[in-house]
């Protein structure tokens, strides 16, 4: 709890807080992009979902790929900076319980990611609801009971997926112990590596972490990667197992490693 509170104090830095407006701007900007390009034939699948209860979440899911990249970069940089800046040794002198320290730090970061991602999602959804009528779209199905239910479900899936991405960032940071290297690795993995693997091993890549997390978001809207081929329940289970693996490996490494920063 002490490590959690201490980390919250650190998150009140401008350099960290700047991530919130960035996420909101990306969410609103790309949602608007989707809204104004629904006539594009390439977006036919999404356009079909617009008049349904899935319409709102289809539009707000446009920025999700970029949001998970921002989140992984933010979390990785935050954790790795403790090594790069050398501040980790200050922290470990005051809290020698390494697992407590890492747990407190990650809980605070996950809370920060959840709050900022929720804010971005809600602002983007509000913006879409206001702007949609001007594009000739009816919002009635979106604000119906089942429409709101789909939105809440999407919201939960998004937070779960972002938690997974954040934990991946933690693992990379603990392994690389340098801001530049770890952010480079994590962003490259999220943006490129699994896409490349999907070209050569399309059946296998669905079990890779980023695919598992993105299937979570795609489930309700049928957008982004679409529904998980292994089924939603199995996807959730595999994603949770993946997160558990990230936590376990990070904890083992962090507990045993020498601090030379």
């Amino acid at each position: 709890m002490r490590a959690f509170r201490s980390e919250l104090t650190k998150l009140r830095r401008w350099s960290v807080l700047a991530g919130v407006p960035a996420m909101v701007a990306v969410a609103v900007g790309l949602s608007y992009f989707g809204l104004s390009h629904m006539a594009d034939p390439k977006l036919e699948q999404a356009a079909q979902a617009i008049p349904t209860t899935q319409g709102l979440i289809t539009l707000v899911s446009f920025p999700q790929r970029l949001l998970d990249t921002i989140v992984v970069a933010m979390v990785t940089a935050n954790v790795a900076a403790e090594w790069s800046q050398g501040t980790l040794r200050n922290l470990l002198v005051r809290e020698p319980g390494r697992l407590r320290l890492l747990a407190g730090k990650m809980l605070a970061l996950l809370l920060f990611v959840a709050v900022s991602a929720s804010l971005a999602l809600l602002v983007a959804a509000g913006f879409v609801l206001i702007a949609a009528p001007s594009q000739g779209m009816s919002t009635a199905p979106w604000v119906s009971l089942s429409g709101v239910g789909a939105f809440v479900s999407f919201w939960g899936s998004e937070l779960l997926g972002l938690a997974g991405v954040s934990l991946l960032g933690m693992l990379v940071a603990v392994m690389a112990r340098s801001v530049g290297t770890s952010v480079g690795i994590s962003v490259a993995y999220v943006l490129i590596v699994e896409d490349l693997v999907s070209k050569i091993w399309p059946d296998g890549v669905v079990w890779f972490p980023i695919h598992l997390f993105r299937y979570l978001w795609g489930t309700p809207s049928g957008f982004t990667l679409g529904a998980p081929p292994m089924g939603y329940t199995l996807d959730v289970a595999a994603a949770l197992l993946c997160m558990l693996g990230f936590i376990t490996v990070s904890a083992v490494l962090f507990r045993r490693m020498d601090v030379t920063a």
């Binding site: 104090t9 830095r13 002198v93 020698p96």
Partner: protein, 319 residues
């Protein structure tokens, strides 16, 4: 010829081994990085209530030792206790230890006060303690400025404030005078003495031997990862004095030089005198031997060595 340095005997000859209440005690502590032995079979001790200087050239293993004492590095072999607890269990003793390891580092975007708040929350220290330590180090008026705007000296002060947060029984400081102006150094010296008088034990790593000489009452010297001296500071200074021998007849000086050289001490010639690096209490023995050899007209004056001279002599492996 100077004798080869007998590290073991020097380390164990100090009175430290008989001191009952040791705040730091290491036994054969070693840390190897591949083939490089950063710390090798280090046996030192620091008694409670002292200001202990931790001296050694760059790369001698000071920081590696401090990191092991703080639980940041695992030893390859050997053992150590801090405040009576094994370093393998840092949670038992670190709440009572304040430390600045290497140059103090902070979150540059946060104010000095916020930086301390982060650590106070982490260590479970009351907020009132933050104001108190800021006042002690004289940073209370700049506490709300971001650390990125602090000078090196201010960062050193903030580092000291950070180390003082837990009201430590043991304070470990790595080069605390770096970046401080002369007035700041004098203030720090007074603060360190004040802490010692209030019962805090201080373990200070520094390469500024002149600074250490002013405050330390215990000394640990390290070379290539091994202790070459561990004991009361005055013991080293006494051991490392200098005898200045003058005589009207150069042949008499030749005789004395021969006696000193045969005894294994370094002899330096000046225009009309000899300087012999040796314990000052060797003067009576030299006087006796000189008289027996026929050098009756020599004058022998003793001069105590500074810590720096003692350290350099130790590095050269002189007797």
């Amino acid at each position: 010829m100077p004798e080869p340095l007998d590290r073991t005997s020097r380390t164990l000859s100090s009175s430290s081994a008989h001191t009952p209440d040791l705040v730091i005690a290491t036994h054969g502590l070693s840390r190897h990085f591949g083939y490089r032995k950063a710390v090798d079979d280090l046996t030192i001790s620091v008694p409670r209530g002292t200001i202990a200087g931790f001296v050694g050239p760059n790369g001698s293993g000071k920081t590696t030792t401090i990191r092991m004492l703080l639980g940041l590095l695992r030893p390859t072999s050997g053992s150590a206790t801090i405040l009576g607890h094994a370093i393998s269990h840092p949670r038992e003793y670190l709440p009572r230890v304040g430390a600045v390891c290497e140059s103090p580092v902070f979150y540059p975007g946060l104010s000095g006060r916020k930086n301390l708040e982060v650590l106070a929350q982490l260590g479970g220290h009351p907020r009132s303690r933050i104001d108190h330590v800021l006042e002690i180090v004289g940073l209370d008026s700049r506490a709300r400025d971001p650390v990125s705007k602090y000078s090196l000296g201010m960062k050193q002060r903030l580092g000291l404030a950070m180390a003082l947060l837990p009201e430590p029984e043991l304070l470990i400081l790595d080069e605390p005078t770096n970046g401080l102006d002369p007035l700041g150094i004098i203030e720090l010296r007074d603060q360190l003495r004040g802490m010692r008088d209030r019962g805090t034990t201080l373990f200070i790593s520094s390469h500024l031997l002149g600074e250490l000489e002013q405050v330390t009452d215990w000394l640990v010297m390290i070379l290539e990862g091994n202790a070459v001296f561990n004991g009361p500071a005055h013991e080293l200074v006494d051991r490392r004095g200098e005898l200045v021998v003058e005589a009207a007849d150069p042949t008499q000086l030749n005789l004395v030089a021969g006696i000193a050289t045969a005894a294994g001490y370094r002899v330096t010639w000046t225009d009309s005198s000899l300087r012999i690096a040796c314990p000052v209490d060797w003067a009576s023995e030299l006087q006796r031997c000189s008289a027996e050899a026929g050098a009756m007209g020599v004058t022998i004056r003793a001069r105590e060595a500074s810590l720096e001279e003692g350290f350099l002599a130790m590095l050269r492996g002189e007797r």
